[in-house]
Symmetry: D2
Subunit: 339 residues, 4 copies
């Protein structure tokens, strides 16, 4: 059976590492290139010691033209702002692209400019982009040439709120998303804040109300609701490697029991192989190392609290990216995503 030729751009960060790990065990993938600006010529196994002997490629610096010759499908784990420069060129050369950066998530280039502080440099392809949450947009993803893979927090928040806003069960303003993330979400570059003795045994909030995943949450939820959605998103860092726990608060329009809402979630996600609707409250550790999003629901005095967990590097990034890839190429969704 012929394999799909795949390249990974920006393979030296944590999402890059997880992508490479998953693609290396994908039976229908031939990994043909890994790019890096800083580590040209360095073996992947030196950049990621855990992948020594697993991925036997060296990091390269390649033009879009060279990439398009080698690969049918390209995953970009480049930083936002950088990614769109390459992705645009790849799309022109008929590569299919799964972009893990933020560059194609917001449909409105003005919104991108506002939240990311730079003008969009590939607006012509924005219209092609499908938001890469397979649980909501699986059909569109199958045909997509360009998938905008969700932000890690956005994946958790949107999945938590989708059944509620789709069914008009909650007020569309005043939603609160209080999320707690492991430190790998901050990337691989050393910073004072994430120096072990600063960050270990420490919990803190950052960017309350101003985090860049806010507009993609609001955009996708508004699309599902058919009306504008406004939410207050406050992310936190907790001292662990991986995992996001999202606690989402909404006001119910009517009287629903916990069991009503669990049933709603079970039915809404009945065909989603990586959603586990549970009676008990999940912990992030139940999901780390897997592509699952675990969720439960509680009702308190007319409020609904959705409590959910995922691995920020897998279901929140590279796992979903591979799931999107599987949809695009007709492979079973769980392929290479076994825990």
């Amino acid at each position: 059976v012929s394999k799909t030729r795949v390249a990974v751009l920006g393979g030296t960060g944590y999402t890059g590492r997880e992508l490479l790990r998953l693609l290396a065990r994908h039976p229908s993938v031939e990994l043909v290139a890994v790019t890096s600006r800083q580590h040209v010529g360095v073996p992947v196994g030196s950049v990621h010691p855990t992948l020594r002997g697993v991925v036997n490629l060296k990091c390269e610096s390649l033009t879009a033209e060279q990439l398009a010759e080698r690969a049918e499908c390209v995953f970009s784990a480049l930083p936002h702002g950088v990614s769109m420069e390459v992705c645009g060129e790849l799309l022109k050369r008929d590569c299919r692209v799964i972009d893990l950066s933020a560059d194609y998530r917001l449909r409105d280039p003005n919104s991108f400019a506002e939240w990311y502080g730079m003008s969009h440099r590939d607006p012509e392809h924005l219209g092609l982009a499908v938001y890469g949450l397979p649980e909501l947009f699986g059909r569109e993803i199958q045909e997509a040439r360009l998938v905008a893979n969700p932000g890690c927090y956005a994946a958790a928040a949107i999945l938590a709120l989708a059944p509620l806003v789709s069914g008009e069960l909650i007020e569309l303003s005043g939603i609160v998303v209080d999320a707690k993330s492991g430190v790998s979400g901050a990337g691989r570059s050393p910073q004072a804040q994430f120096h072990f003795p600063e960050c270990n045994e420490n919990t803190f909030a950052y960017k309350p109300g101003t985090h860049r995943h806010t507009p993609e949450m609001e955009q996708v939820l508004a699309q599902l609701a058919g009306s504008p959605v406004s939410l207050l998103f406050v992310p936190h860092v907790v001292p662990m490697d991986r995992g996001i726990f999202a606690t989402t608060y909404g006001r119910l329009h009517g009287r629903y029991s916990q069991e009503d809402l669990l049933e709603l979630f079970r039915s809404f996600y009945a065909k989603a192989p990586f959603v586990r609707v549970r009676d008990e409250i999940p912990g992030t550790k139940d999901t780390v190392g897997t592509n699952y999003w675990d969720v439960t629901v509680r009702v308190v005095n007319g409020r609904v609290v959705v409590l959910s967990a995922l691995d920020n590097l897998l279901k929140g990034a590279s796992g979903t990216a591979v799931q999107n890839f599987n949809l695009m190429y007709g492979y079973p969704q769980p392929c290479a995503l076994e825990p």
Copy 2:
């Protein structure tokens, strides 16, 4: 100068250990007894290796009568339900009592029965109890014979909301308190959930809307507001020893800037030696090992988010207990509470 003779009941848990550590360095305290049901005859330094050579007492089993003979002031770190049995007897014998359990926090014995699943066994002394938050009730604490030391989460939530509800700046219903606590808050008894390999690298919520610190938050805030307050409190466990980060969400009645609210907090807590109102967002680690409560405020679309941190075993328990003791006996508030 004569010292105050002090005993600690239930000295073998984490709050007991911190109490003993602080009292051992208090220049005006003579520590006369430590009790324990399980470790009678065992030196404190064996129960708490860190206190070897610091506290040279053995754990004893003592009646209220014996305690009252030896000690003028008794700190109780006994479990709720057990504490009130001893405290009542001590009060009858003219001991002053600082109770770290929940037994005297709720004024209404019916509310106690409802939340704690047992009837109150010392209702006659409930009226004596002063809620032991020195930042709010310092004057009453000075004269108190019985101080009900706040719950760790309650301390954080009440301090965060007091300036806002006192000044009627926010709606009194619909407040959300999303708190993240280190594991020492769960006590010293081994449990599956807090076994290291289960709890490390894990974050999860528990008892959403049903945690027992909820009624004391609502009671004290209602007292400050002069009207009922209802809040939705969701605690979480994060993988660290100590510290609570509390994120508190309210709807503002009017238009206030962040600077307005910071100024309100600075002025409200101007005389509180252990409150640090800060411009930047604190982390729990800034407060661990200290008796400080660090706080900042943000305004987002008509909402106020109060972000605050404290050490659950100090400002959230034993540190505040010693601060209350200092007020009761006329010692400077920071005595023995230097970081």
Copy 3:
């Protein structure tokens, strides 16, 4: 293609969980039963939430006879002392057995009695047992009916010393093995010592010179050396979930450079797919989640220091068990062991 029918005994601990996870993704395995004494009737996904939807079996209580009817090969993750009672019966019924307990590791039943404080109850099968380190005994494992899977520390220490004692490069007495393990090595039962607030931010040694993995290290190394080997083994617990870092000290008989010894290790393990001889010092994290044993060597003043790392639950237990299974049934060694 027909699959091999496999059962797991004692599937509710950490090694059981990892076994189940690996077997669930093994393309040639049909998992037919999981046993547990305590959780009969409980779905695996409730005992191990991470395996919800991955392993769809319930825990059962089965006799050896029932097991032998269903399964061709049985992995036992039962405690030592218990395992041999079942394994003996399974062997009589022609099951092949991979025993992760200590019961068949020591050839001499007297040595077992001395170190484990109980007499051996299945001495008749001791002679069948092959010590399950595929890097050293791969050929014997292929034919084995009974594999005694190594202790986690023993795996690390034996692999570190095998090239040196086989080639008579170091003195056979006076070897020091100083190992540092994550907490999952202590099992899943809550204990005071491993309660998160006790064990987090803590490092300590235990059982210096008396740990039960000592005799299997000495037995296997003596077999390789052709002479008795005596070593001083001191294990330590460090605050992390998984991983063993083993630092092994020996006196060199002759003058060897670091490069000589690295070359020796590379050549000794040339055919071992899960050994990575590296120039730089590995960290446990390079190996966690994989079946690799990473190693480097340093020479200091006539001493050799072997520095190596592995995942105690994979290369130190369940990963090696599956590798042994692959050898026994002729599957490629890395099958189901991709990171």
Copy 4:
């Protein structure tokens, strides 16, 4: 009573922070200055949020002349190589100096040059330096004008071996020191290796046989033994903030029981207020936040294993520095060092 005027040089790292914290609670200290090259004009409470409201000074840039005018005693927490430039000038101006850098630890400037890769720039004061381990050199420290505070690992290793080499109980060559340190030992500057997601859940060795604390261990132990001592020191990093666990291996000359050696240690350290000789094995957590060094001893087949723990920032640095200060100025040793 008049206080001693004290300055801290290089107050922005972790040892600086702990020094400031301890000095702020010292009843006989007037803290007159904190210097920093990078943070001139910045309040200490901004550099170290935990010290907000505790130390109310700003970081300054001061010449030796200015320092000598203000302070009688100066603690230097400057990096090695930098410290000696200032300390020499301070000594000429009659300041007493406690240097926490490595600059005055080695008596032989050639040894300094060899291990630190730079020539010594203040050799004239080397002869004045007293090695600042109060348990061994208390009398000399009382009179010292210049104290060379020990390296954190050196403190642990020397205390562990001093009773054994002083009494000629062990062979002076072939000693192994295997130490495990928390990450704060690596300082406050962010580095890839100590970025939280790299360093968390990871254990590794570094600089086996080549760490710079080796020569000070050998120098001080040789002084006690009256003969050269050679040891093999391998430090490790474990994922915790603070604490060193040192496992020290030696060959006994004669037959000693564990109790013999515990008795030796108890007697050797009978007058040392911060040594706790224990029957059971200590953990680092027993000592963190205190100035204690906890130790026990085991005998295995003619070998002695000394197992000990301390807080690398306190007993391993700033705590011992304050203890030295107390000796120099006639204050009780434990002053400001209460846990």
